[in-house]
Amino acid sequence: MKTKYEDKNISANNFEQCTKCTICTAYCPVVEVNPLYPGPKQAGPDGERYRLKEPMYYDMGLKYCLNCKRCEVACPSGVRIGDIIALAKAKNGPKIPKLRDVVLANTDFVGSVATVVAPVVNTTLRMGAVKKVMDVTLGVDHHRTMPAYASQKFTTWFRKEAAAKQREFERSVTYFHGCYANYNYPQLGKDLVKLLNAIGYGVNLMEGERCCGVAKIVNGLMKDATRDAKRNIGQMRRAVEMGDQIVTTSSTCTFTLRDEYEHVLGLDNSDVRDSISLATRFIYRLVESGQVRLAFREDFRMRAAYHSACHIEKLGWSIYSTTLLKMIPGMELIMLPSQCCGIAGTYGFKKENYKYSQAIGRPLFDHIEKLGVEIVTTECETCKWQIEMSTSAKVMNPISILAEAIDVEKTRELNK
């Protein structure tokens, strides 16, 4: 009964499905703290009606949108509000991005330069004077601690220390490491290799992996984002043709590769989309179907709180990580209420957003401090920066916790 009409009358991003119920405005973290933001309904489907008539109706307040998609999770009518806003920003927003936005958006280029001179960069980025200069000249808020760069990239380590060994495995997956694991925190990539090897999977990397492009998308650099995305889709296609699944450790990269490529960049990724998965989802499925068994260290103890990052909330995938973490005998896992931490990628680095960014995250920070947990666990790297800067907790990706808790020898035996 439905195909006849419903498949044909759906407008872009479902914008005509809006019933004007205002439910989305009750769940937008920005509306909560920033009266200058017009809110998801007005910035999204309502504003779109005007913009379609006349682009001059574009509201500069749209720049405050975090692209967190919490409005979409709340909308009962399936309107892709966040996508409508992201596209409007690209189409109708200011055309010449600020130097600061270009720097923040080019995570891979900046990262590859920075890793080479990491010790210098890291010290420099921490110096009060430099922060002040960046604040004034670039508009990067001086309260921010810039993420540290590693002195050896993950890919360099992999080539030197791990690549050869991967050929010993009969089964394999391709790892999309993203900029963060490559430049800032290679340990995450190493942890994943350890874990996958323990359960009998070898790891491949894509040739010339590019940044997933999310930072470029939110900063309006659509052309560059599209170029990177096309390259990544091509490489993922090759991996899938070889029979590999593509696993990731970053929630935002995952979400971008799967959904933003299609919805915001308008690219066809349908043949690879279902093969892209967060590593915890990939492992969970093997465990659930009995193909893989995990053995954990008996002496492992941890009390950790799980933070559901916005893009995990949108993907709906927190259940995989938390189910795996709960399998660890020595683990006490507490669920934090699902709310935005305020950083939203490059958003919170910008001077004009810093105040709002911290106000959005405040209830979460207070909650973490009140629980008194030493470890917060989340799949998002920018949440890690934000929570570590704003609380006393250390933040770990679930993959790193699993890698620490796993008994490699026993797990290997079990999966022979």
Partner: protein, 416 residues
Amino acid sequence: MKYDVIIAGGGLAGLMCGIALQREGRRVAIISSGKSALHFSSGSLELWNGAGGSLEKIAEEKPTHPYAIVGTEHLERYSNLTKDIFAAAGVTLTGDYGCNHLRLSPIGAMRPAWLTVNGFYTVTNEDELPKGKVVVVGIEGFLDFYPEYVADGLRLKGVECEVAAVTLPALEVLRESATEMRGVNISRALRGDVVEQLAERVNAVSAGAELVLLPAVFGLGDEDALERVAARVSCQVKVVPTASASVVGVKMQRQLTEYFTLLGGTFLPGDKVKSYRVEQGLIAGVCTHNHGDVEFRADSFVLATGSFFGRGLVANPDGVYEPIFGADVDYDADRAEWCSKSILDTQPFQRYGVKVDSHLRVSIESTTIDNLYAAGAVVGGADAVKEGCGAGVVVSTALMVAEEILGRTLCETNVK
């Protein structure tokens, strides 16, 4: 993923059913594609306003009405259980089965209700309406509350009524984006000193009044904001429902969801049940938008997807259908019969919904599915608007489904 029970839809029906089952130790997952009709809540749950005839005779007069299927003899028990579950979730309801009270609607009409959240203006009957002056106090710029409507309604009943509007610096900032001057945002701003300041302003406009009526915008900032205003204002203070998004509804949704999760239930927000698999005449599993081919398996399934608003039912020029299972739906084949010309008349489409058997089980192509139940507004046969039975039908069908699945009656005393 394997659970004992999977519920599609996380509105009042899904949550009540999920909570009742989870309290009895069943493992329940609720999958909900967006926020629910609770966001329009007036703060009152309606059971039966009498316009649809006598409740006692419903079995003879309307044999397909959900109350005829539930059995009116069970309504009192379900009513008590509802109060009990709401109280455990932190929401105090006043009122009792068998004696409706009157509550005020946002347009000033007195409507019969059976349970109402504390703080709302209610009277046992119209004789109890105030003999002295009533002041309806609005908030300047607030888009979803019109004091004149409320005052006019009361004047028609012979009540002396004035209107006034107040504002505060903390509320004025919200008007920077005029479209965001909504109940939820006002509510969040009502914390700390602002609450006492508001009380002072209200005092200043309500000299000589017997009763002050305020919009129901309290409780998302400081939990006790309404009590504090009431303590400072020299006459009685009560609240009146606003248009959506209703603050009391947002709170109910949050509190019931938190309670369900606290009991160990799994709540998957922002995800849509898309397809199902049958094995030997029973539903074996469902698949969702977010989880792709990861199947959710269970022994029993509950359809609690609501009516047209949440897309539990969809209408197109050919008919009305239930989009997940294609369950059999009761509706008029002749499209001209669907609605009446005057908006004030009874609207036949209000009654449309899925067909159920005496156990609230659903049928597909006229074959009853033994492990698929329906609860809430998706069930056909009731006219929530005309009969004033919205929440009554929802909670009674939800609790009956829980009992069908458990195979025994729920009683207040054996639940925690």
